[in-house]
């Protein structure tokens, strides 16, 4: 989420927004490039994480297990990261002045985390739709060897709406020039 909030707002806080936006590159292209870069970063970290986890599990585990299922479970990390990325980008275009990225990121992520864990303690089912941490239930993945479609759909809808909204807002937004 830090990535999402920071990637657009750091132009503003670093006073480089003037320089960037006066270049003959449309704002949409700016967002597209930044998003693409962020997704690449996330995919890369996920790749490293998944491979290290898979290799260590194979080395340590006494019982045999399906690599595909294992990779599906570690892939949920990337899916959750993408949700937070989209949320972060949306927040960064909505909030006018972000002085400290981490002060936005940390409370948001922790709030969702707490909602998720408290909800699963209580056994309340509705938190599965609210907190991104709970979208992908591991036991289901292990049983059925695939993700639950409805959560993929929810995630896709949310990400698409958030990104499209961010584009629209950022393109129309008045951005303060560096004084």
């Amino acid at each position: 989420m830090n990535l999402g909030v920071g990637v657009l707002s750091k132009e503003d806080s670093g006073k480089t927004v003037d320089f960037l936006l006066t270049k003959p590159v449309s704002r949409a292209k700016v967002i597209t490039s930044k998003l693409a870069a962020s997704i690449c970063l996330l995919a890369f970290t996920n790749l490293v994480f998944s491979s290290v986890a898979l290799v260590s599990a194979k080395l340590i585990s006494t019982a045999s297990f399906s690599s595909k299922t294992f990779l599906l479970v570690s892939g949920t990390l990337l899916l959750v990261q993408i949700i937070f990325l989209a949320l972060g980008v949306l927040l960064s275009v909505i909030i006018p002045k972000i002085k400290s990225v981490i002060a936005v990121t940390l409370p948001t992520v922790f709030t969702f985390f707490i909602i998720g864990t408290l909800g699963s303690i209580i056994g309340n089912d509705s938190v599965k739709y609210i907190s991104p941490f709970k979208f992908y239930d591991f036991s289901y993945i292990i049983e059925h060897n695939t993700y639950e479609i409805k959560y993929l759909v929810i995630e896709a809808i949310f990400v698409v709406i958030a990104i499209v909204a961010s584009y629209i807002i950022y393109i129309k937004k008045d951005i303060r020039a560096v004084s």
Binding site: K99, S100, V101, I102, A103, L106, P107, F110, T111, I114, T117, L118, I121, I122, G123, N124
Partner: protein, 265 residues
Amino acid sequence: MNLFSREIKAYRKSLFFWSIGMIALVGSGMAKFATYSGGGQSMNELIAQFPKSIQTIFGLTGFDLNTASGYFGVLFAYIALMATVHAVLLGADIISKEERDRTSEFLFVKPISRLKVISSKLLAGLSNLIVLNLVTLFSSIYFINYFGHGVSMNSDVYVLMAGLFFLQLLFFFVGTVMVALIKRPKTSASLATSVLLVTFILTYLININEHLDGLKYLTPFKYFDAKNIMTDGTLNPVYVVLSLGLIVAMVFVTYRAYNRRDLSI
């Protein structure tokens, strides 16, 4: 004390939202308790169905979840998490604000010593922490009595809140120390929150694996563990002294480091 009142004013909105969030956390947490314990099904049976490792992750072992006090003990872990996040961000922000917003040149040419500046800021920060603590205290007492079928555990809540205050102080000063030592405000804020995250994860690891019990001195969350506090009925004096020592050391380092280093304009 102009600086003090300015800082207080600056954090008014943020403190307001954090208080609302805290009240929401305590309120919704206790509301869930009411719906669940009234539902006739014993929560303990439900929790017992989870594998042992999941139970320890959530800090559920050793609590009787049917009683308001047991349930609150579990909730306290999350209350502490919220409060310490607030404290760390506050500590890091309040000192690094000047350098981040490029107002340090303006502020430090005024005829006020750096010592006085830091003292005013720290006092303002402490006031914020106290307010959040009191909000948590009152909302806890209110919601426990409202949803808890008249169980009297106010004294437990007082002790827990005292422990919470120590946690807030500890992490607040972790924030200030990081900023005082490091020149770049962004790095220091991230470092301070990493300290928080690492100690938090460490708490969970210690919960899962009993062999790591010796590490409990490394994580403040273990000093003021809800379970121990409620069984003892009071704070463990060893941990209190340890915390006070850490806090005094960190205050000292904050003052000294910030006084001496070059401020980036």
